[in-house]
Structure formats: C-alpha cells, structure tokens
Amino acid sequence: MTASKTATKALRPLDPEALRADFPILASVLHGNMPLAYLDNAATTQRPRQVIQRLVDVYEKQYANVHRGIHWLSDQSTDLYEEAREKVRAFINAHQREEIIFTHGTTEGINLVARTWGDAHVKAGDEILLSEMEHHSNIVPWQQLAARTGCLLRYIPITGEGLLDLEALPGLLGPRTRLVAVTALSNVLGTINPLEEIVRQAHAAGAVVLIDAAQSAPHLPTDVQALGADFLAFSGHKLLGPSGVGVLYGRRELLDSMPPFLGGGSMIRRVKLDGFEPADLPAKFEAGTPPIVPAIGLGTALDYLSRIGMQAIHEHERLLTERAHEVLSALGGVHFLGPSPEHKGGIVSFTVEGIHAHDVAQLLDREGIAIRAGHHCAMPLHKRLGITASARASFYFYNTPSEIDHLGAALSRAQRLMRRK
C-alpha cells in the first residue's frame, strides 16, 4: 500500500517555478541585468530558506556542544543532532542509526574507509577495483592505501559510449579482490551505473563494495539495504545542506571490525595514560566536535527533498537532460561526453569545437549562466577521453526548461563571437 502511494506521488511532475521561490539566491541578477541560471549543481547545490532558517534558529536558540554538557542547551543540541542522524538513516534506508557516521563530506568518508578498513584488511598483492570514471576522491585514497600496503589498483574500463564495461567485470574480479569502489553516477559523464549487478558480482567474488553516492544521493532514491551496499558516502552540500557535513554509511559488522579513524574526544570510552578504549558506534568514528549545525541543517534538507520525492526529482532532471541534448546538438560543433540521456542523471558535459572549456564558461557567465569547466576532478577520465577539459552543465529540481534554452542561445552567441571569420 505504501509502495503504490509512493509511486503515485512520484509520477506527479514537480513544479520548479514554485520550488524556486524557496531559494533566495536563485533570484539573483548578475552583471547588471542577467538573471542567474545556476547550472553547476554537481559542484554544489543552493539552499532553500527552510535550511538557512534552521541554521539561524539553532544558532540563536538551541546551540551548544553535543554529548557533553549536563545542561539544557547541550541536551537540545544533542537531540537535534541525533534526530538528524535518524533522518539520514531513513533517507537511505539503513537498518540502524549506528550505521550512519557524520563526516565532513564524501572525501572524508572514503578516506575513513581506506584508512581504517583498508589498513586493517588489505595486504600486499590484494586488489582494489575502481573504475575509469571515478572522481579523484575515489582514486587518490586508494592510491595512498596502495602505497602503504602494496595492494594493486585495477580499473573497470568504460565503453566508447561512456558506460561501465560490465563485460570486463568478471575478468577483473578475482580471489584477491578485497574491495570494489565505484561511483553511482559519474560527475562528468552523467552515467548512472548498474550498481545491483556490480554488487552482486563483487559479493559473489567475496569483495566488499563502497559506493560513491556524491552525485546520486541528491538526485535518485537511495536504498542501501536493497542495493546491498557495504559502504556508501555522500556530501551534504550537494543536496541542499550546508558544506562541511557528509555521511558515511557502513554495514554494522564492518564498522565494528574497523579500528577508529581520527583519535580525540568523543571517539573514546575511556582514556588512561597507557592507552584508550574506543567508543561504541557511531561515536567511534566521530572524533572531536562534529559539524553539529551543518548536520542538523542536512536533516532539514532531507526533509525538504523527501517532500518533493526523489523519483520526481530524477524524472524532472531527465527531461532537462534530454532537452539539453536537443538544444545543444542543434548548434553544431558541440560534442557530448557520456551516453545518451536515458542512461544519465542531470549532468551534461560537452566540448565545443574551437573554444576551450574555460572560454565557454566565461562567455556563458557574462549572460548569467553558471556552469563548470575543467577536468571536474576526473583527470584520468579526461585522459581516457583524449581531452584536457570539458564544460559541464548540471541540473537540479529547481532548474527550468527555459534555462536550458537560454544556455543554448548563449552558447550559440559564444560560438559566433569566437568564430568571427
């Protein structure tokens, strides 16, 4: 009953114009008279006034350190912080709240796993399987682990179309594969990866699976139990929350088997001069004063997203991606990175013949359009694609078809400017 109700709700298209009214920054006018078209949501999203007001309210009325003070304010703060943890648990359908670790972002979450689970379980000659479409934050921590342990990194290749080459997967998984760490949604190609199949094969080979959900958690429904994910990491600032807070989900048995990460306050049960006993989950991995108010703000952001519905968000972004492909293709001289829209989330990366990506971004900026240009923290992927930089437009539920049309018109003017002859 609940499922069919959810499905009905998801099929109702969302109204971006109505939702935009919650985002003060989206009413910005740049360079005198250019309305802001914010198409850099894969880098970070904007915040609704509900989240901003929540931060103000907590700081003005309910703020103190958590899990420490025997006083009213500390109790208030602690309750709100732990309430946010419960909201995260529900948002990704984790089994227990102890499986939700507040970090400072996706990067810290992946580093935490590499430093603790990796150092404890990975030996020389073991293999870590990544993919060619990973963000640097899901490559470098494993390169550092390889330098510490002598393990080997292998990469699932991508096809010419920009999909993971699943045919190569069985040959890459072996008895020495300890971990498969892949992105759920490529921050450059926009590709949505077939996680269920990857998890199934990885588990059959005895490997643990970490999912980089930085680009998927904000845009798609996430269910760690249905996925069978062992670890999953994402950031608050990419889904309406404050920067400086992120989430690491880990299956309880794994988190229990791991040594602590950073040492300090909160993560201990008791400390003596000759050693310490770590605290229970989740405090074991939350040394020091955590990002208290950002975590509370993240909880408010998740409430906001849940009211809209993650499936509705995905469907709206799919429409924007399709429109962007249509509009930009019509210009000529635009080459897309990654697959056709049905395999993508709301990310459209491209190169423009004769115009460097930074010039594309600069020329669009003067018409009020914010996109990203560069390698998007995926240098190995750009090398694989044979380019040094690309331009990336990335959408959220508050973007409109008319913003996509504006992008097309502005890019057309940029092309004319740069090809005067």
């Binding site: 600069q362 390698h375 040094t388 005067r420």
Partner: protein
C-alpha cells in the same frame, strides 16, 4: 570585470591569427609547461644570439583563448629585445601587456607563457 573587455578584438586577433606560432628549428633555448587544472600548455622556443639578443621567439601550445593569445603577445613583445631587458619583464608587465583585466583564476592562464619564457631564458644553451 567587464567581460566584453576580455574578448576584445586585439585578444581574439592574437588567438585566431597568432604571431610566430610553431616550433623554431635551431632554437638555443626552450621550455614548456602546463596548467594541469585547466589543461593549458605553452612551449616557447628562443634563438638568442651571441650578444644576448632574442633574435627569434616562437610559441606553441594548446588551451584557452587567454593562454594562447597571451603567448602570442609575449613572443611578439620580446623578439628583438635583450635578455637582460626580458628578465626585468615582470608578471605585472605581462598583465599590462594583455590589457584586459583578469580575475585571479584567469590570471594564471595569462601568466603561463610568462613563466615559460622566464624559464626558457634561464635554461641551458642548446648546442
């Protein structure tokens, strides 16, 4: 920043129709570098005569309009000059030569060729 100023004609002219773009056979000094952040790369070849004068200056490279137009302006500016004078050509001089005002991020594009030129001058003379 006034964006129209950034893509003004003298910059686009250098980008589309650069001065001495290519490699110089018989270069006595050369250097190249890139900016991995954006993928801009610049190579500079110099032919410096026995009196220390830059007889010829050429550049090659790949990248954004600013990085490539700036390199064209720079080699045109220093050809015929003495290396002592070019050593005194500062980063601020380079930004002034480019004329359009740049944000700090785009100044890196403009100054890539200047860094490469200074390194080329100090590089060992090729046989």
């Amino acid at each position: 920043m006034n964006e129209d100023e950034l893509y003004q004609d003298h910059i686009l002219d250098h980008f589309e129709d650069p001065f001495h773009r290519g490699r110089l056979a018989g270069a006595t000094h050369a250097h190249e570098d890139d900016n991995p952040l954006c993928g801009d790369s610049v190579h500079i070849d110099l032919a410096i005569d026995d009196q220390g004068r830059i007889a010829e200056a050429w550049f090659d490279g790949d990248g954004c309009c600013i990085s490539q137009a700036a390199a064209s302006m720079l080699v045109q500016r220093v050809e015929g000059r003495h290396v002592d004078e070019v050593r005194g050509f500062s980063a601020d001089d380079m930004l002034a030569l480019f004329r359009a005002r740049l944000t700090p991020n785009r100044q890196k594009c403009c100054l890539l060729c200047w860094k490469v030129l200074q390194a080329a001058i100090y590089s060992p003379r090729r046989p």
